[in-house]
Symmetry: C2
Subunit: 103 residues, 2 copies
């Protein structure tokens, strides 16, 4: 995968997460959502900080205190242990994210 | 700046480089080029690795041994000290990059 929009499989039962690069300090992932949302009651609680770009599609991220709607180009920095979940991704097209996890 | 495509100034004399986030291990930048290229004879020689996404526009990166044409969605990982220069960016629109420098 050397293009963020390339080689996207047809509908997957789960979100598709692919590591673009990783070492001890940083991990860059492509995530493809297609109408997916986090399971009811599930919260991400990452030990690393996560800077995430929504490159295509549309989504809503829920935090404990707010909901953030995201459109293409939107970038959000989520500190480690800030709980969040994917509330919604559009069913109309694939939502493609570039996520950078860092210490 | 919370949208990669937002708040882009009109033509700047130099490439516009804006830090989105940075700490000791990682730095994420938005770079806006508009027909810019690296000065003749200039080579980037970063002490950090650089993973870079071309989000909009078009560019050619020159390495000592090859030239890589980049289109939207293309991602390239450039190891530290791999010399490179921006050979060309399109004059037709702004080229917007997301660069992740990491140890």
């Amino acid at each position: 995968m050397n293009n963020l929009f390339g080689d996207v499989p047809t509908q997957c039962p789960e979100e598709l997460v692919q590591t673009i690069l990783a070492n001890c300090n940083v991990r860059i992932e492509r995530i493809v959502s297609y109408g997916h949302a986090s399971p009811d009651g599930f919260w991400y609680d990452h030990v690393q900080n996560e800077g995430v770009l929504l490159a295509q599609g549309a989504a809503r991220l829920r935090f404990e205190d707010t909901v953030v709607a995201m459109k293409p180009g939107d970038f959000i920095d989520i500190p480690a242990h800030r709980k969040h979940r994917v509330e919604w991704t559009t069913p109309d097209e694939k939502t493609i994210w570039l996520a950078v996890f860092y210490e």
